[in-house]
């Protein structure tokens, strides 16, 4: 879990995201597929601007009732899924 939280993340160049009704819908140009994010995944996606997963979790901790450990687990899980789907990458130096 720590590895994904240590890594800075940004949207992949092939991911086209549009916010509809508060949540993100993402088109993956590479795979010609669409993913609709729920509320919490959308909140995480919004912060994927080059921050690490830990920084994202810390930012979210101030606005959610859940404890820091639970938030870190949720953030790690979402980042893993989005990275595996090719929608998130590490920023190019």
């Amino acid at each position: 879990m720590s590895e994904i939280l240590d890594r800075p993340v940004v949207a992949a160049p092939t991911a086209l995201a549009r916010e509809i009704d508060g949540n993100f819908t993402i088109y993956d140009k590479e795979n010609d597929s669409v993913m609709v994010l729920n509320d919490s995944a959308s909140a995480i996606w919004r912060l994927c601007d080059g921050r690490t997963g830990s920084a994202i979790a810390a930012e979210l901790a101030s606005g959610f009732a859940a404890g820091p450990d639970e938030i870190e687990r949720d953030v790690a899980s979402v980042l893993e899924q989005l990275t595996e789907s090719g929608l998130l990458v590490s920023p190019v130096d």
Partner: protein, 277 residues
């Protein structure tokens, strides 16, 4: 001696089509079906000819002088004529075309996307009977520049079974595997001919209990993208257009078994509102 052929000019999605028919009864039928999309005569982009049908020969359909189909059945030939017309017009449309039935209330378009054979035409016809105006039983056509819904009111194409459901007084008969072409007027409705704003998208599931529930608009983008016609797949641009089009839309999931019941529910349950854009 009267004329031996009749010429009919129409405009569908900006394509001008001339149809020349040498059977006056069929010409009158086509004129009735296409009356809402009649165009003043001018230079056509495409020319269809329908000939034959006497005791000596089959019916023949030609497109720009080239034979398309020959058949002893007039109904089959007419069905093929409209299918060919459909492909031609949608291929030439520069906007985004999505498999969907579309009806309207005032300036608001309601789209029901679905694959071929999913029951779009029957549900669309039922909505027209319930009081909505007719926009298309085949495609939701969106202008890439304005984002508006462009009407594509080709004749409704119904199976015999659907025709009898929509028009119970209709006597059974005809060829069961041939679709019947109908104008909205044939089922007591009328056609919308002006550009519209997309306000509602309904994802319909046949063979489910009757229900209409709101869903997040984001859930319909993937369905609309999936239902795009081939040739309309500048996918990233289309995704952006559809995302923008549904942002201010209401989205619904409809369960139904009987199209008439579903249309009545849609009519009753969809709040009527002016588009916000």
């Amino acid at each position: 001696m009267g004329p031996t052929s009749s010429s009919l000019d129409i405009d569908l999605l900006g394509t001008r089509i001339r149809t020349i028919v040498d059977d006056l009864e069929l010409a009158a039928r086509l004129e009735h079906l296409l009356i809402d999309i009649r165009a003043s005569s001018g230079t056509p982009d495409e020319i269809f000819e329908i000939t034959g049908g006497d005791t000596q020969s089959d019916w023949v359909l030609r497109h720009n002088g080239k034979g398309i189909v020959q058949s002893a059945s007039r109904d089959r030939l007419v069905e093929r004529f409209f299918a060919t017309l459909n492909e031609l017009v949608l291929d030439a449309f520069p906007g985004v075309a999505i498999h969907a039935g579309v009806v309207a209330r005032g300036p608001c378009a309601i789209a029901i996307p679905g694959r071929s054979g999913a029951g779009k035409s029957t549900l669309t016809a039922a909505c027209v009977r319930a009081g909505f105006s007719y926009v298309s039983d085949e495609a939701l056509c969106i202008d890439r520049i304005t984002g508006e819904v462009v009407p594509y009111p080709r004749p409704l194409m119904l199976s015999e079974t659907s025709h009898r459901l929509i028009s119970p007084s209709q006597p059974s008969g005809g060829e069961s595997d041939t679709k019947v072409a109908l104008s909205p007027a044939d089922i007591g409705g009328h056609t919308n001919s002006v550009a519209l704003t997309l306000t509602d998208v309904i994802l319909a599931e046949r063979n489910s209990a009757l229900d209409l529930e709101p869903i997040p608009p984001s859930e319909v983008v993937a369905e609309l993208l999936e239902r795009c016609f081939e040739g309309h797949q500048q996918r990233a641009g289309t995704f952006e257009l559809l995302s923008s089009a549904v942002t201010d839309c209401r989205a619904w999931r409809l369960g139904y078994r009987n199209a008439l019941d579903a249309a009545a529910l849609i009519r009753r349950a969809l709040p009527f509102s002016q588009p916000s854009r």
